[in-house]
Structure formats: structure tokens, C-alpha cells
Point group: C2
Chain length 344, copies 2
């Protein structure tokens, strides 16, 4: 019995000698069929190789079980981890995920949202809080749950789970000040491409500013990557006022920068400090543990997914969650003990 011609609900109904509604009810597990007939029907459906059509089902219900998720990139394990954190919870709730990579481009995100809306998704998940102008307007009107993830804002489109990037940067800045660093440099990619990184940089700058220290900046015109860090660090080391600590956009760049420093014959952390962001797993196997801020990616995903599932089911409790982060003091900055905090 190959399903040469796909069997549909009607065929099952005929075979079972019941109406299609009974089949529909039986297979969806909703109320309104006796246990006896439900068992008979679902047995028959299995046996006949019945495959329901989500297209038809979703059309009739005017909503699908698709959760559409947009992230900037999958090359950064961070987003893979966030997605991983969401997926299990969503799958458990019978929701399918569809993933887009916007490549840090708001217009791409906007175009994708337009396309996704044609699928009547159960919910929409966006990375960050910076969107193309038309997007906000579009989504605030819709009654579909929208989750903005990874960054926080006082006025989310709908729901929001993330970390406070400005505070993260400031915290790290204070930490570095405490360790005696006085010539910090930030190494990132082209201004504005990664708004979260910009906010961290601003936080960092604000911390140093309180000590009347200016944060130097080096920008590489590339995607956030090992290579970008490598190049950025190389350029930073050539600055007239050579920095005593390099704060990278994230761990990836920091790893790439590390080799630049070694190539330049600089000892880490003796001659120069290196700081990343995220606390990737690779850190667990490095000889010299990177000083970084550890972000709760998987937990963030899971939290967001739980809130989404609740919202989809009509329960709307909390709307905004700021997740805690933790500085990993690491070994690529000098430890407090040995710091002789030289005035400059």
C-alpha cells in the first residue's frame, strides 16, 4: 500500500465509516470523539499512511505552527546556541522553526519578514532591537507574538529577552580600569553594522571616560570573524599611542587578534591585554583563557521560547526579561594582584 496517490482525510473517513470531522478530531486529539472510535481511526490512518496537510490545516485555522527566527549569521556560534536553546522547547510545543540569516542587514530582515508573513507564522523572533523603520510599524499592528532577542529595550515591539549590552561594556570597562589599564582600544567592524557591539563599545567608553581616558577605535571593514580580529589587532598595535588592552567586538575577533600579538612579539598579558565577549566554548581548551563576558545564550533561547509558547497559547505574562551576564576574568589580562597600575 504505497501512498501513490496521497491518502487524505476523506479516504480515512470512508475507510473508517465515519465523517471527516471525526477523523479530524480524532487525529488532532481534540475533544468530541469517543476513545473507541479515536483508536480505530488513528490505527487506520497509520495503516493507510495518511499524512495530514499542514497547508490545508493552517489555512483553515488562519495560523500555522511555524515560528520564524531571524539571526544575523550562523557563522557565529552564539546564534546557533540561541537557536538551539529555543528549538527544543518549541518542538516540544509542536512548533516548527524556520531560520533566516540577515547578514546584519536590516533591509534583508525587513524583506524576509514580509515574506514570512505570507505564511501566517505562529510567532516571529528577531535578533536585536534595531530594525528597518517599516518593520516596527508593520509588526506593532499585527496581533502575532513578536520576540526581540539578544538585546534589551524599554519599548519592545512586543516581547523582549536579552542582555544589556551597554551595561556589559561599562562593567568590563570598570573591571579593566581596576586592573590598571589606561590605554584601551576597541576593535570592531564597520560602524553600525552590529548595533549591539556599538552599545558595548559605548559602555566601555563611558566607563573609561569617568577616568578621563579616551577609548581608541579600530574598525575593520569585514564580517565579524577571526580574520577581522587579526587585522584589527595588527592595526591597533601600529597606533601611535599603543594600547595596553585590546577590547574586541567578540571572542572570535579576540582569538584572531591573539595571533597578531604573538606575531608582533608581544606577551599576553604581560605586554598587552586582550578582551573578548561571549565566552565561547573554545575558551575551555585554550592554554590562556580569554578574558571575556559570558553570555547565557542557550538559557536566553529557552526563556524566550517558553514565553513565546505561552503567548501563542494566549497566556501573556511577563514581556521583558534582562538576562544576567558574568565577567570571566581569564588570563589574557593581568590579574589584580600583579597590577602596578602605572599612571600615564
Amino acid at each position: 500500500m504505497q501512498d501513490r496517490k496521497a491518502v487524505k482525510i476523506e479516504d480515512v473517513a470512508r475507510a473508517a465509516g465515519v465523517s471527516i470531522m471525526s477523523v479530524s478530531r480524532a487525529l488532532r486529539g481534540v475533544d468530541g470523539v469517543s476513545e473507541a472510535t479515536r483508536a480505530r481511526i488513528s490505527g487506520l490512518a497509520d495503516q493507510m499512511g495518511y499524512v495530514p496537510s499542514r497547508l490545508a490545516g493552517s489555512l483553515a485555522q488562519a495560523t500555522s505552527n511555524l515560528v520564524a527566527i531571524s539571526v544575523p549569521t550562523l557563522f557565529d556560534a552564539v546564534f546557533a546556541e540561541i537557536i538551539g536553546g529555543m528549538r527544543e522547547t518549541l518542538l516540544h510545543a509542536g512548533l516548527e522553526t524556520i531560520i533566516e540569516t540577515s547578514d546584519y542587514n536590516p533591509d534583508r530582515e525587513a524583506a524576509w519578514i514580509e515574506r514570512m508573513i505570507t505564511w501566517s507564522p505562529a510567532a516571529l523572533v528577531l535578533s536585536g532591537i534595531d530594525h528597518a523603520p517599516e518593520v516596527e510599524e508593520r509588526l506593532r499592528g499585527a496581533d502575532m507574538p513578536v520576540m526581540e532577542l539578544w538585546d534589551v529595550t524599554a519599548r519592545p515591539i512586543d516581547m523582549n529577552v536579552g542582555i544589556d549590552h551597554f551595561a556589559v561594556g561599562r562593567e568590563m570597562g570598570r573591571h579593566l580600569l581596576g586592573l590598571g589599564y589606561r590605554r584601551p582600544a576597541f576593535i570592531g567592524i564597520t560602524q553600525g553594522r552590529d548595533p549591539r557591539a556599538e552599545r558595548r563599545m559605548q559602555g566601555l567608553a563611558s566607563a573609561f571616560e569617568q577616568a578621563d581616558i579616551a577609548l581608541q577605535q579600530v574598525r575593520v571593514d569585514a564580517a565579524p570573524s577571526f580574520e577581522a580580529g587579526h587585522e584589527g589587532a595588527t592595526r591597533a598595535l601600529a597606533l601611535p599611542d599603543r594600547p595596553d588592552v585590546l577590547c574586541f567586538l567578540n571572542d572570535h575577533l579576540a582569538f584572531g587578534g591573539q595571533t597578531s600579538c604573538e606575531a608582533a612579539g608581544l606577551a599576553v598579558p604581560g605586554d598587552i591585554g586582550l578582551v573578548g565577549f561571549n565566552g565561547l566554548n573554545i575558551n575551555n581548551v585554550l592554554r590562556r583563557r580569554l578574558t571575556t563576558t559570558v553570555t547565557p545564550r542557550a538559557l536566553m533561547g529557552k526563556t524566550a521560547a517558553r514565553m513565546l509558547v505561552a503567548a501563542i497559547r494566549g497566556v501573556r505574562a511577563e514581556k521583558r526579561v534582562t538576562m544576567p551576564v558574568m565577567i570571566d576574568a581569564g588570563a589574557t589580562t593581568r590579574s589584580r594582584l600583579t597590577s602596578g597600575a602605572p599612571g600615564d
Copy 2:
């Protein structure tokens, strides 16, 4: 004019004073409407904020524009790159992608395929050629294009683009033999979880076997990761017959293993050789370039996507493509020149 109550094709038709079929034709860009009315209709549709329903459209056409892609994991940049390679081509052809991570679990893949079929996807993409038994049977019958990616087989379900992992392993084995290595060890994860890695291992073993050398094996019960390589290398170095070259499942494990060697006070490549697989970008910024096999991930994805698009449009030319790979001699194995190939 917010689309409080979603405008549908009928509303546009009424507004334009034409039938819904004219609107349908006009907006899809199919033949059968004059240029004048097409322009008028699509202008009106824009203005009214009309958003077509893919659910309805796909139901009527009995096929969606969804291409469903299953990969083992997104934590490995390799799969992110393959997906990246496909996406652009698919998007260009008006196809949407939906991604699953099976976590190297055939049953999860099988369950996902069942779920995806309910969406009438335009095509299905699977990683590798090893599937749950029911999957092959299920898909060979279906008339939907199916692409098996990343590995090659003489008898694909439908289409197949990949590399010959056995040959890759054998090639590397010969290379290492030529460099004088005589005590090789393979470091992987639990047997069978990653079938491609097993085939590479077998290729490696077969090369060494021809020189009457046995390949030792170390298995770590974990996901392929930096940490797994770290632990595997540590264990390999403790073997009674200490290996002179460690062949890791992939670059990730090799990077993790590198620190083990350094921690053990072994010089690379002086005391021990390290070999990876894939040629990840990180290799471009390492002080010591990893000896590895470079795989054409993005190109593979692009090639597969092109073939899929053709198949979806009804053109079916080539069905099987084996992509070339290249050994990157790197600096974590001794160079031919300095090798004194000591007999053991």
C-alpha cells in the same frame, strides 16, 4: 489604511474592477493579463497592502516554495557554510529554506522528514547518505526532488553532491606515510555517530594498512567539539605506543587537541603531528597552520542548490557530482624535507 482586517485577493479584485483570477495572474507574473491591467492591479495591491497567503497558494498548487534542509548541527561552521552556499541561489529562485538540526540522530531526521512532508516542500535536502531505513523507502517513492549532500554514493535516493570521504582519508594517509609517520592515531567521537568521519577513518586506515601499519583509535563520547579533541588528544598521548601523528575527526577537534599537546610539553610538529579535516577559516589566523583537507563547502552548497532549482523547474540533468578536495600541507606535520622517516 492599516491592514487591520487583512486584505485578500478578492478585495484587490473588487477595487480594480476585475476578477480575482486577473489579480492572481497579474501578481504572480504569469501570462494572461495585459500589461496595462497588470500595472494597474499591482499598483493597487501595493497601495492596499495586499499580502498573498502562501498557505492558500501552496495548497491550491499542491506544492510550496519551501526547501527543507537537514544538517547534523549548526555548531560546526561547515554546515553553516554549506547552507550559506545554498541559500543565495535558492532565494534568488524564489525558494524559502527551512533548516533542521538532527544532532547526528537518524531517527530525529526521520521524524523531521515526516513532519516536513506535511508541508509539501518543493525539495528536501539531507546531510549524508546514511538515513533511517524507513526514510529511503519513503522518499524513493515520492516525486519530490531529494538532495543528499556532503557525502557521495553510487545509488542516491535522487540527487547527490558531496565529497568522497574514504578517498579523502586515504589520500591523507598516503600523504602522512610519505612524510614518514609510522604510528598514526585517529581521534573521533563515539563510533557510528558521524558516518562520514568513519569513512575518512577507514580510508586513513586502508592507506596505512598497505604499509602494514595499524591505525590506533581513540573515541570520545561527546559531540564533535574543541573539548572532545582536547580530551581525545590527552588520552591518545597516554597510549602505551605513543602515536607520532594524531588525525582528528575534523579541525575543531584538532584545535582542541593542539592545546593538549602543548600542555604535555610536546612540540608540534617536532614531537608529534596534528591533522584536521575541513580547512576552516580559523586556520588563516593560526600561528601554526593546521595540516588538513580543504573542503569546498560553499561551492558544494551552491552546486546543489543549482541542481535543485533545475529539478524543481522540471529540468533534470546530472544527478551525481563528486567535488574535489585539496590537502593543505600546513605546519602541524613535518615537511617532507626535514623528515628523517625513522623506522619503528
